[in-house]
Amino acid sequence: MRVRRVVITGMGAISPFGRGAEALVAALYAGRSGVVTFPDLGQVGGMRCRVAALVPQIDPLEIPRKFRRSMSALSIYATLAASDALTQAGLGEAARASGDMGVVLGSTIGSPGTIQEFFEDYLTDRSLERMRSTLFFQIMNHSGAANVAQALGITGRILAPSAACSTGCQAVGYGYEMIALGKQETMLCGGADEFHPLTAATFDVMNAVSTGYNDRPSATPRPFDRDRDGVVCAEGCGILLLESLDSALRRGAMILAEIVGFACVTDTSNIANPNAESMERCMRLALHDAGVAAADVAYVNAHATATAQGDVAEAEAIHAVFGGDVPVSSLKGHIGHTMAASGAIELIGTIAMMERGELIATHNLDHVDPACAMIRHARPRERREIGAAVKNNFALGGVNASLVLRRYRA
């Protein structure tokens, strides 16, 4: 079995800060919040949350109608982000159609907005006579992956992992493994989700959504903060172009970072509640896969969504693995929880930190919760040489995933 080195040579993002990885990184470093008041949430009976982090108007018209007709918002986000990642990597039509490039891209579910529109009409008389032929392609679970591959003419492997908040992290991990095993040369990897009120409702019914900052949206979410009160749901897409090191060197591509380890474990203690021991096991397995010692990790990008239990469990797990000296931050204070996209979007922020040698502190972390104080929280604009970093995502359903990144060295 061949095991090859895998590097990242392109990035694309659609986030609450608009289109582009550069726009995302600039906003993160500027300490901006993408969270806004969204009064429409009040139309859902029982909903207490009125905040969300939404993608601003994105022009989809560069995607030809033939491909756009089968896309909901999440596939549009994914296609534009994937296109940007390919442009940065310098990979054109020949590479896309070579069969050596694949796609690993998932979403939490297929487009919930499209499903709602269909059923609102269908249930009036249970007739299929008004159903568009392209409806299915917008709501199938692999809608994002299939639409990206179709629109960009990518003919290799295709996989659509669906693991809610861990989807993006899993996608990168599985893409990394496919390239490491020599099955593909390049993989577009990431996650995408579009906002729907029922996403916020899902967290609201579990008492895990932010409800206390509806009049001060930029003050929430507050990962690791004593005054945090839950998740802020967001939308977007993050895409990373993974490539075998051999291919990247052969092409003379700019290498942004190397992926050296991945682990995914299932926490069977509870389908919803986080478990520190399982998180710890996940991080330790990823480090083992990477052959990187915990002492060599200079930064941990936390999942930390600002829920009462999740942040504490993750802090305990990080402390168990890394002790109290490694700086930690969560980017959800800036952009909310972009769900299936969060792993890939936050990896882009992590890679930017590695490139610049400057950390992005957790936005809205004003007073560290004593229960989360055993770890070292990154300070604003802290200078830090990051040789290796760990990225966590922990999902409802008990899906825990961790990646290990390293600065590229020949």
Partner: protein, 87 residues
């Protein structure tokens, strides 16, 4: 509706649904070669026309022989006139 009004409604409905430029909407234009539509689009075209005109045409045998925009104009005009005659 006059014939011209029917043709206008057909063309505007298809332009909106399929993002077609007005200048290519000629009677001679074939759906596949000139307007760039495919089999999925033809399914949706029937739905769009049924909604615009308030009739059902999905099961009509004659629809299968339609090749050009002019064929469609003639088909819809005939259908409208037939319905008016039976009304």
């Amino acid at each position: 509706m006059t014939d011209q009004e029917i043709i206008g409604l057909i063309d505007s409905s298809l332009q909106e649904e399929f993002e077609l430029e007005a200048k290519i909407m000629t009677p001679e234009a074939s759906f596949y070669d000139d307007l760039g539509l495919d089999s999925l689009d033809v399914v949706d075209m029937v739905i769009v026309l049924e909604a615009a005109f308030g009739f059902k045409i999905r099961e009509e045998e004659a629809i299968r022989s339609i090749r050009t925009l002019g064929d469609l104009h003639a088909f819809v005009i005939a259908k409208k006139r037939k319905l008016e005659g039976t009304a």
